[in-house]
């Protein structure tokens, strides 16, 4: 099967994950076998990317270490020091293209007078330079460039800085929100997430074919846009073939979240969403004064897992999604009570490959029971739409409460909205925060980042058989009549109803 990865970095990461998965499946995670991975991926001969094959193998070993879980230090994202290329970090520079022109607009436009012409070439005094970029903008030869690190650029909460001595990237644990943007952006793949893939494989194996306990897979709705040659139902079949007892949609949990969120919104008047863990982290660490406004509802993933536990006491839950922040949510927040492990689509594909499962040839399985509204959580704007629908279904009129939501596409927009709220000048009454641009379909561990993804998610949403959020939720209530799914104390009423109608 022609695999579609956006970048070679993802492909390399996937190769490692696949080899690790193969060993895990054969129950051969011994030091000897693990050491055989690097020479297998980087065989003798010319190095592919770096100076020599030994450095490449050393990096592979670092990746293997992350694939096996990495260091337990409270984070889910880590820098691989050997792989970090120490990209130049000298900010604004005059390049060789400078022709020492007569106009020297650079010098004239510099607000800090930091440019002088020495020997017919522009020279920037770095002491005075404030990196405003004006000189860059006016040079007619584009001879002034800004050298920045992709990782630093990618990190909107500005949690990455460069170590003075080693010139390696360093992540500040206090500021990092685990969104994984750096993981996706680093052109050398020097930052990567830690993996629980081996633990998931053991979990399924130890379940004794789901006889001792059931292992559920909760899968994110962005699954609909990962494979160009397979429909979501085939992906579900593939996941089932990995040995899970049942595959359930996180979108179903999203339906419940939309319902409960609508209720909470009417009650409190202003909320920020709590589905995106990176967004929640961002508020907690960078806008702590707004913590009280974060919705008290669990994320769809956790909500779904919680409901699964209340229906099937002895079960275990694994979440599969495009999201690295979910790993942090699973490990370090309350959600961990319900979800055992989180793996990404990259890791899922590695497991498929290790087992010889080709999703494009699977027969379609069924994925139930979410509605359109739950499924569109995967793309930006989806949550707001779903809450609007939930309000409508709950019979909340516009006089009682009119939803005025702002959908923040990426951390930069989130920052703007939160800032406004902090200053009290935000007009809207609901902030839907998505740390990744385009929403979850733009997640760092997605297999595909194309423009078609938005439409694919909507198409997947439309294929749902439950017409309203209430329908989708009712099924959960059937599964467990004692659940107060609707949050209003209405339970176990169906039997009386039926007797009347008969």
């Amino acid at each position: 099967m022609a695999l579609l990865f956006d970048t070679h970095v993802q492909k390399m990461k996937y190769n490692v994950l696949r080899e690790v998965a193969k060993l895990a499946y054969r129950d051969e995670l011994t030091p000897q076998r693990i050491m055989e991975i690097a020479p297998r991926i980087i065989p003798e001969g010319k190095p592919m990317f770096r100076c020599c094959i030994y450095k490449e193998r050393a990096i592979i070993n670092e990746r293997v270490s992350m694939a096996l879980g990495g260091e337990e230090d409270g984070t889910v994202v880590g820098v691989l020091p050997i792989a970090c290329d120490e990209c130049p970090v000298d900010g604004i520079q005059v390049s060789n293209a400078c022709r020492g022109c007569l106009a020297h607009r650079c010098k004239d436009n510099c607000p800090k007078d930091a440019i002088s012409i020495i020997d017919h070439k522009a020279v920037i005094d770095k002491e005075k330079c404030i990196e405003c970029g004006k000189c860059m903008a006016v040079c007619p030869y584009s001879a002034i460039v800004k050298h920045t690190r992709p990782c630093v650029n990618a990190c909107k909460p500005q949690a990455i800085h460069i170590d003075q001595n080693t010139e390696k990237a360093v992540i500040d644990k206090e500021k990092c929100i685990s969104c994984g943007a750096c993981v996706y952006q680093c052109p050398f793949g020097a930052i990567t997430d830690k993996s629980d893939i081996t633990k998931v494989i053991s979990l399924i194996r130890d379940s004794n074919l789901n006889r001792d306990y059931h292992v559920y897979a909760v899968v994110a709705p962005s699954m609909a846009s990962q494979y160009p040659n397979a429909v979501p139902e085939q992906v579900v079949a593939g996941i089932k073939a990995l040995g899970f007892h049942a595959v359930v949609e996180a979108a179903w949990g999203a339906d419940m979240v939309a319902w409960l969120e609508a209720q909470e919104l009417v009650e409190k008047g202003f909320l920020t969403s709590s589905c995106c863990p990176a967004f929640v982290n961002y508020i907690n660490r960078h806008f702590p004064s707004l913590k009280e406004h974060v919705s008290h509802n669990l994320s769809p993933m956790a909500q779904m897992a919680k409901w699964l536990h209340e229906t099937d006491e002895n079960c275990h839950v694994v979440f599969i999604g495009p999201c690295i922040a979910k790993k942090a949510e699973t490990k370090y927040t309350d959600a961990g009570k319900y979800v055992d492990y989180t793996i990404t689509f990259e890791e899922m594909q590695a497991m498929f490959s290790a087992r010889g499962i080709d999703v494009t040839t699977m027969h379609k399985a069924e994925l139930d029971n979410a509605s359109f509204y739950g499924r569109i959580f995967a793309r930006c704007g989806g949550l707001a739409e779903a809450v609007t629908e939930a309000l409508k279904e709950q019979g909340v009129s516009e006089e009682q409460f009119k939803l005025n939501a702002v959908s923040c596409n990426g951390i930069a927009e989130c920052k703007t909205a939160l800032f406004k709220k902090q200053k009290g000048i935000l007009k809207e009454n609901f902030i839907e925060g998505m740390a990744c641009v385009n929403g979850c379909i733009g997640g760092p561990a997605c297999l595909s980042h194309s423009s078609k993804n938005f439409a694919q998610v909507d198409a997947y949403g439309k294929s749902s058989m439950e017409n309203t959020i209430a329908d989708a939720i009712r099924v959960m209530q059937i599964l467990n009549p004692a659940l107060d799914v609707k949050g209003d104390g209405e339970v176990e009423k169906e039997i009386e109803e039926i007797e009347h109608t008969k």
Binding site: A246, V248, D368, N369, S464, M465, E466, I495, E499
Partner: protein
Amino acid sequence: MITVSVCIGSACHKRGSYAILNRFKQLVRQHGAEDRVNVAPVFCLGECANGVSVKIDDQLVLGMCEDNVDATWEQLVLPRIG
């Protein structure tokens, strides 16, 4: 103790598995068989094209609808609980 599992996957749900579930529960109560029969909903059984799917212990029963719940009860459940 036998278990009657009614599928609540979307395809069956649309065909009325909810009503079937309730009718089974009613029958259990009418026959006072709460200690012998457990009626429970289950996730998709994978037979979405064949009407509502129900399992009686490990026996798969297809083509169920509201009209034949009583027949199923008589033919397949009662004989097992004596």
